[in-house]
Symmetry: C2
Subunit: 344 residues, 2 copies
């Protein structure tokens, strides 16, 4: 078990067999504890864990559609009905939907209650659970409502990944590859291996990036690589397309854009394209250049109504653009990339 401190105030525990130790129980202390998990994970881990840590168990629906205002309100109302005070500890057990949603609820319930995250998917371990971002979705796009809120602790137990379906592996793997593209080329070199070392590298990369820029004023934006197009594609597919597939496609298209705009070599681009070959890399059927561009209008990086992209100039390095780490791209500049995708 490795313990990493994430500024300002989160203890991250990562390793194996974490949930069988008493470390989590010590965090609960004398606090009233509510464990929140989706219905799919309930019987897998949640019931046993709740018993072990003397927590009350609440369940939420499964899937991205659960990350809604409706689920948020139901959860908050449930906490009110249970008479939960400000000294109630909320523990989120599950994937990114659960950690994002419960994180948001913890940040606004009575203006903030203590929070612990137990991510159980590769995507949540390497991405969603780290960095203090919470979110819910709206019909206007993903993660458009949220807060920055530090959990007391994160328990990333890699043993929970044993039961993870292949599709879920790919979801997380896309984020690991992205980390290799924007920040740590050593990840890129080792990317064939599904092992703990690779996961740890991705986690450490994310921590290093968010600690440099906790509120996303500049450098942290590089984490958005692949997500400007990725989020738009997810929205167009009405969230039918898995996040990892959308991000993989987004990474390839934004690497193409980086090449098309003259920053990235053709050789690097071809290597990137090859590395994402385990993903389907198909646009949703109803995706046109126009609705893709329209869907990107709600992207949070935008300024003065212009869509802004993170771009790379080599594998492992995002371009600074004078500390903005993104640049406006016009619909016209995007055209070639979209046409390339349509023809491949």
């Amino acid at each position: 078990m490795l313990k990493i401190l994430i500024r300002p105030s989160t203890e991250l525990y990562i390793g194996r067999n974490l949930l069988t130790t008493d470390r989590l129980l010590e965090f609960c202390g004398k606090l009233r504890t509510i464990l929140i998990a989706d219905v799919a994970i309930k019987d897998l881990y949640a019931v046993d864990l709740a018993r072990k840590i003397h927590a009350e168990l609440l369940t939420i629906p499964t899937g991205e559609k659960a990350k809604s205002r409706e689920t948020e309100q139901n959860l908050i109302d449930e906490l009110f009905k249970m008479g939960c005070g400000r000294d109630t500890l909320l523990i989120a057990l599950g994937g990114g939907v659960t950690t994002d949603l419960v994180g948001f609820v913890a940040s606004v319930y009575m203006r903030g209650v203590p929070l612990i995250l137990i991510p159980t998917t590769l995507l949540a371990i390497v991405d969603a659970a780290i960095g203090g971002k919470t979110a819910i979705d709206t019909p206007y796009g993903k993660n458009l409502i949220g807060t920055i809120y530090s959990p007391k602790a994160i328990f990333a137990d890699l043993d929970t990944l044993r039961t993870l379906p292949e599709k879920e592996w790919l979801n997380g793997f896309a984020e690991i590859l992205k980390m290799g593209l924007i920040y740590d080329s050593s990840i890129w070199q080792k990317k064939g291996v599904k092992n703990d070392e690779l996961i740890l590298k991705a986690v450490q990369g994310k921590i290093a990036i968010v600690e440099q820029d906790p509120t996303e004023l500049g450098f942290r934006r590089i984490l958005n690589f692949g997500h400007t197009i990725g989020h738009a594609i997810e929205a167009i597919s009405q969230y039918e397309m898995p996040h990892g597939e959308a991000v993989a496609l987004g990474c390839v298209l934004e690497a193409h854009l980086s090449m098309h705009l003259g920053y990235l070599s053709e050789r690097d681009f071809e290597q990137i394209l090859g590395s994402f070959s385990s993903f389907p890399l198909r646009l949703p059927k109803n995706c046109t250049r126009q609705n893709l561009f329209n869907a990107m209008v709600y992207d949070k990086k935008n300024a003065s109504g212009k869509v802004r992209f993170v771009l790379i100039d080599r594998i492992g390095h995002a371009i600074s653009f004078e500390g903005q780490y993104c640049r406006p791209v016009s619909e016209k500049e995007l055209k070639a990339t979209f046409e390339w995708m349509k023809n491949n």
Copy 2:
């Protein structure tokens, strides 16, 4: 005009003729600016101000009932529809309902956009706008959902109070008297005067308290004096009773409780009772000891299911209780205070 820095990052401007200067315009800079006001204040100030600072104007309904999830969602959806990005400045113009609600929206819209508050009621100037608390109400009680979020600036223009109805004066005056009871006895000595000095003292008192304890772990709780009962009474009256009347009644009853529990002298209590004589001091007709106690169960100070009260031991001084600044009070201990009220 006085400029006061409030940690961590808010500039407070307080004085007269503030809105006719260019200081506010300088804050807007090149940001897209949305001015949000309730329909009652729209024609009074908002249209002119929006024109002056080149802002787009959005309106919300009037009154405490507007501080709801519904108004919050409508406002957020309106911002989405307008294509507002993360670099949009929101300005709240109005009373505490508007500053609380718009503050909450600013804190969660795309995980936070810049915010400026222009409080236009005495209550908002001395209380709601200062301290970084945002909130919306739910059927379970007032301010139960919210965040801690610092505005860039607060413009407290005392000239806006010229049009304030007497009822609104009393709303703010109850908070000024409360500040005299818990913190600054010099306010208490000058309380007959409705003047700028008294307002400034109350503002400075609040700033000193919140800076010592921004996230309400201890000392800041003293601001809740009069509000444990006050909020419960408001809820029982279904928010028909003005906040100031409820707080005045809450202050008298919690002073009575302080006396009944042996902390406050009878002489101080009699003086306090006399000083609130400009308020009606009447319980809502449907208020029973049982529903009063039930309504306090959702109070945010509670711990382990016990209702906790801020208590005073003299005018101008709240009791520390080992840094908790509140203590549990049983239903039985509260009985005498309730009976006294019913018989007076």
